[in-house]
């Protein structure tokens, strides 16, 4: 019984805190999607399905939602394609300096997100660094192709923001591969590319999935980067949620959109968790 009182004393404060300030707000947000009135406080018709009907009928919402999913998919895939060779190189060819080099890749991940987005706003800006540099080199005349305020600018910036995070889980997964499996493949006549495709790549898959989710989830929720570099064509679902709370002041509709986003990121996690042990994904 002493044991139980210890568990009770240790767990009660964190459990109560998270229940009140995390689980409860999410539950209220879910209830809010059924409320009438702009702030969800209209008591004349307390419960309604109108926001659900409007959401489904509004093709813009669905189009932007789908576009955000596609854009997040592009960003995550590009991050993996860029970071996989780095992780592979560090694991197999970098020798004793690998941890130092890996740390070098990880440090930018710790630098303020807003600053890193800002640096790309400056680089890609209309009168910005890339444009004026190209003009200075004489490569382009006045008519500089404007890179900023496009979905492409959002993709470039988000890849830059997230790519340092992805090298670590892939590196860890490659490091866990038993070297004797690679030798066995070579002994059985597999050349380098066969060994890579049939041994290394499949065995590093947990790291790839972890890295993918690590980028995909926050990117689905993005609204800051599109606001700074994406322009009107680069609007994402997060921007529409932001708009419902800060501009349109339709909190129940914003809650519904936020709930849709919550489910959209939770689903891949649950699906992955069914097939892969989560500790395998997180493990270093």
């Amino acid at each position: 019984m002493e044991r139980n009182s210890r568990i009770f004393a240790l767990m009660t404060p964190p459990v109560v805190f998270l229940a009140v300030l995390f689980v409860l707000p999410l539950a209220i947000m879910a209830l809010f999607t059924f409320r009438g009135g702009s702030f969800g406080l209209d008591t004349s018709q307390p419960w309604t399905l109108e926001h659900y009907q409007k959401f489904i009928a509004n093709t813009t919402f669905l189009r932007v939602f789908w576009r955000s999913i596609v854009l997040s998919f592009e960003v995550s895939t590009l991050c993996i394609l860029l970071a996989y060779p780095i992780a592979y190189y560090l694991s197999f060819h970098a020798g004793p300096k690998r941890i130092t080099l890996l740390t070098m890749i990880l440090v930018p991940a710790w630098i303020s997100y807003l600053l890193r987005v800002l640096s790309w706003k400056i680089i890609l800006g209309g009168t910005g660094f890339a444009a004026s540099f190209l003009m200075w080199l004489g490569l382009v005349e006045k008519g500089v192709p404007i890179l900023i305020y496009s979905p492409a600018a959002t993709v470039i910036t988000l890849v830059y923001v997230w790519v340092p995070f992805i090298a670590l889980p892939i590196f860890a997964a490659i490091e866990r591969i038993d070297p004797s499996l690679l030798e066995a493949s070579a002994d059985l006549g597999g050349n380098q590319s066969a060994t890579f495709l049939r041994v290394t790549l499949p065995l590093s898959l947990p790291g790839i999935i972890a890295g993918f989710l690590f980028v995909f989830i926050p990117t689905v929720g993005e609204y800051v980067t599109p606001m700074l570099v994406g322009g009107p064509k680069g609007v994402m679902f997060g921007n529409m949620i932001w708009g419902q709370f800060m501009r349109a002041l339709n909190w129940p509709m914003g809650s519904l959109m936020s709930l849709v986003m919550f489910v959209a990121v939770l689903l891949p996690i649950i699906i992955v968790a069914r097939f892969v042990r989560l500790s395998d994904l997180a493990g270093v």
């Binding site: 002493e2 459990v15 890749i105 400056i122 609204y223 809650s255």
Partner: protein
């Protein structure tokens, strides 16, 4: 021998690595260089060297005020999440109890769901349900929510590597359970506590996407910097502020990493 090393350095894989590293570091260095550029327009070629932007930053009361708000919220939210996260970490590492897995899943969620979702959920709670004014308090509480899982992860992995027999030994020698926690366990995981504190502080200090929903009228540094980005003339000041934070945060990262390593060494010595 040198020839071999040189060839290795020039291999396509290593060249790709260094291009990748330049891609990661160039935009950051660019910010620092531009903070010394004598022009309100951030364009190439650079004009000349100046320290004026730094003087402007130091003289701006609003910026210094925002920095103070950020530091206060960062310290308070890291301490509170440090205490709650450490308690939870001890609970889940040392004990098996009903609901443990549920707690693990829910407490990890703030790490994986988008910040905007947590932000709007807390905004609804604060404004529509509790009807409290947004302030640094609501912001700080919100930061504790996202910092608890960070602290839990760092402290739990340290606790798992620690020999639980040391607690048993202390209790056999007459210490109560809580004395053993305070006098044996906490000192051993202390480097992890510091690392967790610094990580939580950095997270809080940098948080924008959720904070903007619950911040109220007193801005933190990211909120203030973001609001200045609308004015092109102010961008060099933001860039300069950014450079200062950049250098400070890199120093903090190295400190946290050194402490983490020191912690690993000291526990292996204890063993």
């Amino acid at each position: 021998m040198r020839d071999v090393q040189f060839k290795k350095f020039l291999s396509p894989a290593s060249i790709y690595f260094w291009i990748f590293a330049v891609f990661l570091y160039f935009p950051i260095f660019l910010l620092v260089i531009l903070s010394f550029n004598d022009s309100a327009l951030l364009r190439f070629p650079l004009k000349g060297f100046t320290l004026d932007w730094y003087k402007t930053v130091l003289r701006s009361h609003e910026l210094v005020g925002a920095l103070q708000n950020s530091v206060v919220v960062g310290v308070v939210s890291s301490v509170v999440s440090g205490v709650l996260g450490t308690m939870a970490a001890i609970g889940i590492v040392r004990f098996r109890f009903p609901g443990r897995n549920l707690f693990l899943a829910i407490s990890a969620l703030p790490l994986v769901i988008p910040a905007i979702v947590i932000g709007v959920a807390l905004l609804i709670l604060f404004r529509s349900i509790l009807d409290v004014d947004l302030s640094l308090w609501t912001l700080g509480l919100s930061h504790v929510v996202i910092n608890i899982p960070i602290v839990m992860l760092i402290v739990a992995s340290r606790l798992a590597g620690m020999d639980a027999n040391l607690e048993e030994a202390a209790m056999d020698l007459g210490a109560s359970y809580w004395t053993a926690q305070l006098r044996v366990t906490l000192p051993i995981v202390f480097p992890a506590l510091i690392a967790a504190f610094l990580t939580a502080f950095t997270t809080s200090f940098d948080e924008y996407a959720m904070s903007v929903f619950v911040v109220g009228t007193k801005p933190t540094l990211p909120v203030y910097m973001y609001s200045m980005l609308r004015f092109p003339r102010k961008i060099p000041v933001v860039v300069t502020m950014a450079s200062i934070i950049l250098v400070a945060s890199i120093a903090l990262i190295f400190l946290a990493e050194q402490l983490r390593r020191a912690g690993q060494n000291s526990t292996s010595k204890v063993r």
